[in-house]
């Protein structure tokens, strides 16, 4: 296995804490916040994270495929979740301790509920506004009502973190490569 070459491109407006485990070719967009103790492993292929994303503690984002893993804007990865999707769109929420397999591609406005295991055996693309909830992973379609308020809340969440996290955590800056 070729050695993993670390190459971090972190936007100057992104907030990435020192205690984050980064590996491989990772690009982090403007305004994205990575909490301490998060893990982003671009083992086989690069990971590109968009702007305004919030990656909380214990979240694990792994790319084991050679293709680029693209994560869109304004996504929220809650505590302890594990995500391996090759593509993630915008404004999704992966709730606490959820696990999403690498066969799943997420579009936008999806919600993976807390603790849910999304492990389909074949490749699958989740439609927009899909909500997966419950211990059995039931699915339903969200009407989209309230999404403006939710995005507004996420923006406020991000703004608050951008103010507070640097006060109590050391930040990691990009390599400049």
């Amino acid at each position: 296995m070729p050695p993993i070459r670390d190459k971090f491109t972190i936007h100057s407006k992104a907030v990435v804490c020192q205690d984050v485990e980064l590996k491989g070719d990772i690009t982090i967009g403007a305004g994205t916040i990575v909490h301490p103790k998060a893990t982003i492993f671009a083992i086989a292929g690069p990971i590109v994270i968009g702007s305004g994303c919030i990656i909380e503690e214990g979240a694990i984002i792994v790319n084991r495929r050679k293709e680029v893993m693209r994560i869109g804007d304004d996504n929220l990865f809650e505590i302890g979740c594990r995500v391996e999707c090759p593509t993630i769109g915008n404004c999704n929420t992966v709730c606490t301790r959820a696990r999403v397999h690498h066969t799943v591609r997420m579009s936008s406005y999806c919600v993976i509920g807390a603790g849910v295991l999304v492990v389909p055996t074949e490749d699958e693309m989740l439609d927009e506004y899909t909500v997966i909830y419950g211990p059995a992973g039931e699915r339903r379609r969200w009407s989209g009502r309230g999404k403006v308020q939710e995005m507004d809340l996420r923006r406020k969440h991000g703004d608050y973190l951008r103010d507070m996290l640097p006060k109590f955590n050391r930040l990691r800056r990009g390599d400049g490569t």
Binding site: I4, E21, K23, T39, F41, I43, R64, V111, G113, V131, Y133, G134, E138, R139, R140, W142, S143, R145, G146, K147, V148, Q149, M151, D152, R155, K156, D159
Partner: protein, 485 residues
């Protein structure tokens, strides 16, 4: 209006049974959401609707919206009153009302037993139904007023037949056809409401999942608990519905040592797994399985286990453990003999230090271990104590730290054993309550008695049984084990 449900604002999501919240609707979309840099406090406007945070169901899907976020019950009352079962009930009440008025007016002067004065026409109807004349059985009349019986009989004959609002036969036919049509055009099973989503309704409702309405939250009762012997109140929750605290909370956990069980070899295996997974290796399932098996309990082996005792009392305690024979789980004696786990527990008493406020540990750590009179060697921090009792290393005290003592025992799992490794353990502990009785304040009868109580500290003894569960035996075929005898 159902009586065991919240009458005000609390509703249940019909989809996932979580509590619904009242949220305002989104403001009209300007097209480009990112331009709103003005971070306003509240971005939402009426109409309000109910929203489930878990499955994202909202009541706007069934066209239930509110103008104000409070007083939802009043706003929903209109819908509930037009439900078929309430209309039916109203008709029933109207039908029976003249009869009830007549029967209650005739019943009153006859002075039936005092508790029969019902102001509610429904309960009056119920009690008169109970007193109804049954053919073949002599009528029970404590006051022997046969005159009244005849009166009631006369009234009953006048009651006309009741015609329901909806003819059941025709209704069933109508809805049946519609249901069949609906089923024919089903695209996914999720469109049909499941049975447990529908059966809280007293009336037959639509089968579609999209027609499910929010339910009111069922009320729960808070119970208080008394001691069975002295009737003293042990648990008394707070009156306020939302708070989960207790006014009176006397739980045994405040007096008994807390016991937690760990398997050191399982913890070591977990550490190994974590370390190797962060390095990006162990992606194969076989490797992961192996490491998981390294932490499991396999028949035919023996494992040490650690019991950590935490002392909640302000006095140090001496704990003694004993193994109780497992019973009840195994039916026949032969099976019991085969499946008995051989447990070794430390047989001597071990002390657990008293609970002290955290800051005291920083200042003087030596004071704690001054309680140790056994002459066991401890180092300055009291971490690993050398076992001076001449027992094997595996069974005995492992660690003494603050008010926690960890002892280790050993379990030997015989080859044919299966199932959970559980054993009953008898824990007995004694302590000396050093607090002298304040002689002047308490109502002690004689001064000599109070003096005696303050002089001689009493030894208190407690013991309890507990079940220690070490886990399930992982059934694994040993590849080395061949068929040879």
């Amino acid at each position: 209006m159902p009586e065991d449900r919240c009458a005000r604002n609390c509703f249940l999501c019909p989809n996932c049974r979580n509590t619904l919240t009242v949220v305002p609707s989104d403001p009209p979309d300007d097209g480009d959401m990112r331009t709103s840099q003005i971070v306003s406090a509240a971005l939402g406007e009426p109409p309000f609707f109910l929203y489930c945070n878990h499955c994202r169901w909202d009541s706007a899907e069934v066209d239930i919206t509110f103008e104000k976020p409070t007083g939802l019950a009043a706003q929903l009352q209109r819908f509930e009153d037009s439900a078929p079962e309430s209309l039916e009930f109203e008709r029933l009440k109207e039908h029976f009302e003249p009869f009830l008025r007549a029967s209650s007016s005739s019943a009153l002067p006859s002075a039936t037993p005092a508790h029969h004065v019902h102001t509610n026409p429904i309960t009056a109807a119920a009690s008169s139904a109970l007193a109804r004349d049954i053919p073949g059985v002599g009528k029970y009349n404590p006051l022997a007023r046969s005159r009244i019986g005849r009166d009631k009989h006369a009234h009953r004959n006048e009651l006309p037949d009741y015609k329901a609002r909806v003819e059941i036969a025709s209704a069933a036919a109508l809805s049946g056809e519609a249901d069949v049509e609906f089923m024919r055009h089903l695209e996914s099973i999720g469109e049909v409401a499941s049975l447990d989503q529908r059966w809280t309704n007293s009336w037959v409702a639509s089968l579609r999942a999209s027609d499910l309405k929010p339910l009111r939250i069922p009320l729960q009762s808070k119970k208080s608990k008394r001691c069975p012997s002295c009737r003293h109140i042990l648990i008394k929750p707070e009156q306020k519905a939302q708070s989960v605290r207790f006014k009176i909370k006397l739980v045994a956990a405040n007096y008994l040592p807390a016991i937690s069980v760990t398997l050191p070899h399982a913890q070591a295996a977990l550490e190994m797994m974590k370390r190797s997974s962060t390095l990006g290796k162990s992606t194969s399932t076989a490797a992961a399985d192996e490491q998981q098996a390294a932490g499991a309990l396999i028949a035919g082996h023996s494992y040490p286990f650690h019991l950590a005792f935490t002392n909640p009392l302000y006095d140090p305690i001496q704990v003694r453990l004993a193994k109780a024979v497992p019973q009840g789980e195994f039916v026949d004696a032969e099976k019991a003999r085969r499946s008995t786990f051989h447990i070794q527990l430390p047989s001597a008493a071990f002390p657990v230090a008293a609970y002290q406020e955290a800051w005291e540990y920083e200042d003087d750590e030596e004071d704690m271990f001054g309680l140790d009179d056994d002459g066991m060697e401890v180092d300055a921090r009291g971490k690993k104590a050398k076992d001076g009792r001449g027992k094997s290393r595996s069974v005995g005290i492992v660690e003494r730290r603050a008010n926690v003592t960890v002892v280790s025992g050993e379990v030997l799992i015989p080859k044919e054993a299966r199932g959970d490794v559980k054993f009953n353990m008898l824990v007995s502990y004694t302590y000396r309550s050093d607090d002298p009785e304040p002689g002047d304040d308490t109502e002690v009868a004689t001064p000599s008695r109070s003096q005696a109580a303050s002089r001689a500290p009493e030894m208190k003894n407690f013991s309890f049984y507990t079940v220690v569960d070490l886990g399930t035996i992982a059934y694994r075929e040993e590849p080395r084990l061949s068929v040879e005898p």
